[in-house]
């Protein structure tokens, strides 16, 4: 019986079952009601794949294996338990990177293992695994550094950026070809050949991530997510393993779809995001255009309270500023008080608000906002005329009317939440500074706009206490 559980057949059947569980898990993510169970099912698939692999008869020594498993589990579990929801983008970036380095190491281990004779296909897969894994690793670490503000989060642009990138890509393919054909023309050993490719892959990851910053971070996070899946799928071709290929492709497809959604939400092509350096270029343009006429109309919390108290429908529009000032709990409290007052409350969430896809949704869910109140721009824009008050909290570019009205604006054509069509708009801002794209926002000067200056959390808390008194 023991023989059966260690047989190739049993192991492979288990991998098929694991793949099915991954697929069901992702399928159940299509609704918030079933999503948590879906995640458990996916985790069960992973557990199954790990256990049958550990039981397999090619595993001779468990000594190092168990130490690495336990250490990894402790690090992973503590990171997952202690991370704040506002810093979720950093954690996901870091995890993406770990996935990338793991695949890189698997590819390297197989390549340097003299007992495994690799054919040309497997060698090609080794090259791709190491290349993509390395790009994912260094790119993710850089993204982590930018998000956590360890290093400057601004786009880093330099002259000849594309040429440098192309040189490194060509160089990596030359070395990749040598790995496959093993001609010996380059005169370096297998080991140093591999080290050179790893080195170039790490540089490529930095080159690809450095020009991206600020509001473009959701795109690169999604793209790196995709790469980590592709690296795992490539590793599947190295060790001829189906479950790696299935799981890796699912992740690769997922990251690619998210990347595409993010780009569409900004009305830009992926090429433009990767090489455009949007934030850096437009900040210089923005300062030159001083044509917008009108005046800023500040409002204090007492007057804002009176307007909110009389409102029948209120839409909150959060942006990264809400995460920065940790205002989500106060916002939910205000939302509940408004509802008790007979007002309809919704939260309009733009796909690129925050620093990763869906960032605002998680913050509001953490603050106990019911998920059926979290609405997308497409659902809220058609009924915007019926909204009495829009409360914009730390969002800027995603509510900029220039996207519809000003053809000369760098964000023209970007789908936005059309808050200026509501009867009244409150904009919670610390000062009149421009958003991440560095462009002026005529919303602030519109007839129906009122600026509520100060820290978002404090302003909302004051409104909450006005309601309670």
């Amino acid at each position: 019986m023991n023989m059966f559980f260690q047989s190739e057949l049993f192991v492979n059947l288990s991998y098929i079952l694991a793949s099915i569980l991954f697929i069901f898990g992702l399928k159940m993510l299509s609704s918030p009601e079933t999503a948590q169970r879906g995640n458990l099912i996916s985790a069960l698939g992973m557990l199954l794949a790990i256990i049958v692999t550990l039981m397999g008869n090619n595993i001779i020594s468990y000594q190092w294996l168990s130490i690495a498993l336990i250490a990894g589990a402790i690090v992973g579990a503590s990171a997952a338990s202690f991370v704040k929801m506002t810093t979720m983008p950093e954690l996901v970036a870091l995890f993406n990177g770990f996935g990338g380095i793991a695949s890189l190491l698997v590819g390297s281990a197989e390549y340097l293992n003299v007992t495994s004779a690799l054919n040309a296909i497997a060698l090609t897969a080794v090259f791709l695994t190491v290349l993509i894994g390395g790009v994912t690793f260094s790119g993710s670490l850089l993204a982590f550094g930018k998000l956590s503000e360890i290093i400057n989060g601004k786009p880093f642009l330099y002259f000849g950026q594309r040429i440098v990138l192309i040189i490194f890509i060509v160089l990596s393919f030359v070395l990749g070809a040598e790995i496959i054909v093993d001609s010996g023309l380059l005169g370096i050993s297998r080991f140093y050949l591999l080290v050179s490719i790893i080195f170039i892959a790490l540089i490529l990851g930095v080159l690809l991530t450095a020009p991206i910053g600020g509001a473009d971070m959701p795109v690169i996070i999604a793209l790196l997510n995709s790469y980590s899946g592709v690296a795992a799928a490539a590793a599947g071709f190295v060790i001829n393993n189906n479950v790696l290929i299935v799981a890796g492709s699912l992740v690769g497809a997922s990251g690619l779809i998210l990347t595409n959604i993010m780009c569409k939400a900004m009305n830009r092509s992926l090429m433009n995001v990767l090489f455009g350096g949007f934030g850096a270029v437009s900040s210089s343009q923005g300062k030159e255009s001083g044509e917008i006429q009108g005046e800023v109309k500040p409002i204090n919390t007492s007057d804002a309270y009176l307007i909110l108290e009389a409102a029948n429908s209120v839409l909150f529009v959060p942006g990264y500023g809400m995460a920065v000032s940790q205002a989500q709990h106060s916002v939910r409290e205000l939302g509940e008080l408004l509802e008790e007052n007979g007002c309809e409350v919704n939260y309009g969430i733009h796909p690129v608000a925050g620093r990763m896809p869906g960032h605002m949704n998680v913050l509001l869910a953490e603050a106990n906002v019911s998920y059926d109140q979290l609405v997308e721009p497409d659902d809220v824009n058609p009924i915007m005329d019926t909204v009495d008050v829009c409360v914009v909290i730390g969002a800027n570019d995603v509510v900029n009317p220039d996207a519809r009205e000003n053809e000369g604006s760098p964000i023209y054509g970007m789908p936005v939440i059309e808050v200026d069509r509501a009867k009244t708009v409150f904009i919670l801002k610390r000062s009149m500074a421009s958003g991440f794209a560095g462009i002026d926002n005529p919303l602030f000067l519109k007839e129906n706009s009122r600026m509520l200056f100060g820290d978002a959390k404090e302003s909302i808390s004051t409104l909450v206490s006005e309601f309670k008194s």
């Binding site: 985790a43 001779i60 990894g72 579990a77 991370v83 695949s103 190491l105 698997v106 296909i121 699912l250």
Partner: protein, 93 residues
């Protein structure tokens, strides 16, 4: 041509199409948990890592494999736990 390779390629292509179909149905509300959950799944490379680390081969392979097991385990355990934590927050009144 290697028939095993063709079979693996076949699986790859089908899985990509399946991935697109599945992920397109995920609402934008759940995009963050989708990313962290997908990230956990990409930790599947742990299977390859275990094989490299535990099989009787040269020392270098064992060392590299063990490093891979460590990183992939962080990815798997951390990814699933944090996704679970996030999804637990999504409630309807």
């Amino acid at each position: 041509m290697d028939s095993l390779f063709i079979m693996l390629l076949f699986v790859l292509i089908l899985a990509i199409f399946l991935g697109f179909e599945l992920i397109n149905k995920v609402p934008s509300t759940l995009h963050t948990p989708l990313m962290s959950g997908a990230n956990a799944i990409s930790g599947i490379t742990i299977v390859g890592a275990i094989l490299s680390s535990g099989s009787d081969s040269v020392l270098l392979t064992t060392i590299l494999g063990t490093g891979a097991v460590f990183f992939a385990t962080i990815n798997v355990v951390g990814g699933y736990l944090v996704t679970n934590r996030m999804l637990g927050m999504f409630k309807k009144k």
